[in-house]
């Protein structure tokens, strides 16, 4: 079978450049989306833990709605919903409409933040109360306790799930092709649809995503190895 040679055929020339630009967009969306998502998720978790009750309720509702609905639907509503609403309310002349890439990045960040915040919440729960009390008694502020005690301690528990989540976010970027963000899947699908070369396009996608996931996993393992000195602090 010449599938292998036809795959290489798609990897140079115009097709190759298009795939490469799609890959670049995917990586930017993924990295920026997961960093912003994790940061936002951390603040959600902190606000829910230390903030007043109503804030906790509000954020919990936010987290459950974002987690509970498919990213496809969120991306769709974010991109198409705004203009629809504007048209329904007026003539559509004053209306903030997002570019696909910006809508995608915003959606990815918000989506990721809901999941990340739940992971951090589990991390907070797992830390022995005594450790936090110990920090308080030596005069740490709440923020110092968070940064110096809680964060390093919970990382061990949370890290593998964080890597998992980050990998899932990578795969969710593929959904953004539905709002015509020109990421990897969008570009590779063009080949599949144009020449009906679906086997080739799927193989390319599988290999590229797998490589990205392995890189992400390797970074995660390196981080775990560095952080393992926090483990087994007792006995």
């Amino acid at each position: 079978m010449n599938a292998l040679s036809s795959i290489f055929g798609y990897l140079h020339g115009d097709d190759g450049w298009n795939i490469l630009s799609g890959l670049a967009n995917t990586i930017i969306l993924w990295l920026v989306g997961s960093v912003l998502g994790a940061a936002l998720g951390f603040f959600i978790a902190v606000a829910r833990r230390y903030g007043p009750k109503p804030v906790d309720w509000l954020l919990k509702a936010h987290v459950e709605v974002i987690r509970g609905t498919p990213f496809l639907v969120q991306a769709y509503l974010l991109y198409f919903g705004g203009p629809y609403l504007c048209l329904a309310l007026g003539d559509g002349s004053v209306c903030l409409t997002l570019e696909p890439f910006h809508a995608g990045l915003l959606g990815l960040t918000v989506y990721g933040s809901a999941y990340y915040s739940e992971l951090f919440r589990a991390g907070f729960e797992a830390i022995p109360r005594g450790h936090i009390e110990a920090a308080t008694t030596v005069g740490f502020t709440r923020w110092q306790t968070l940064r110096r005690i809680i964060l390093p301690e919970m990382t061990m528990l949370v890290l593998p799930s964080m890597v998992n989540m980050t990998i899932l976010l990578l795969k969710e970027t593929a959904v953004l092709s539905i709002i015509s963000v020109k990421e990897l899947k969008f570009q590779v699908d063009i080949i599949g649809n144009r020449d009906y070369a679906f086997v080739e396009s799927f193989t390319i996608l599988a290999l590229v995503y797998w490589a990205l996931v392995e890189i992400c996993g390797a970074v995660g393992r390196a981080a775990e190895a560095r952080l393992s000195r926090y483990r087994f602090a007792h006995s």
């Binding site: 198409f80 203009p83 629809y84 649809n193 009906y196 086997v199 799927f202 193989t203 797998w210 490589a211």
Partner: protein, 277 residues
Amino acid sequence: MNRRALINWSLALATGVVLGTALPSAASADVLETVKKAGVLKVGTETEFAPFDFIDKGKHVGLNVDLFEEIGKEMGVKIEWVTLPWDGVLPGLETGKFDIVAGPATITKKRLERYKFSPPIAEATVAILKKKGDASIMKPEDIAGKPTGAGKATAQLAQLQEFVKKLPKQGEVKEYVGFNEAYADLAAGRIAGVANSLPNIAFVAQTSPVFEVVQPTFGVKTYFGFPENAAPEYASLNDAVAAAMAKIKADGRMGKIQKKWFGVEFDTPAEVKDPAI
């Protein structure tokens, strides 16, 4: 070193596994015989392509359903539908999960290299869909300078791009993952027109109150056909389907079905050997 070996191994395995799907199936028995013996012709399709295949009130209906009903009668077999997303349909055809695909697809040179196509079932020539009441677009040339769109990697997109290039003022041509998303952006006001095959947009305009077709069509004449497996053991089946369709065309049943779903009848050639694109 250990990790690198692992990764290499994994990649090799994945390549092998994925490419394995591309291998022709080992069964070389004549497919027509198998179909006749079982009394069932398996047809793969997607259900997001009105008016050919779509879901109305939870039921799979469309031109393809009616047409294959007739083909089944001619061949003396029952039709069994397998509905999948379009991504999965053609790999299914290649691996023998079903015997023919009810697409339909615009017949192009590149696609003919890989698949066979049934006799054409309708014209696929392109026209513009606009928002109802948009007086600024009365003929195709009026889209000059305005943003338009089509499904990515479709024959229709290529036609639109060609057409826009020749206009005095060129507006942006946006690409969508599917035509339904392009319609959504048209409704949302981000683009002024969507280029798609006349049968499809005629049906859209008929079904939805917010859209309208801009006549006439533009670009080169193209046709829709059903993708078929090009392997030799499928040859007799493909011939049998072609014979059945010729009969259905000749006695006027095809025209009736087209009228029912498109509102118009199309004159289609018996076979497209050398497509214009």
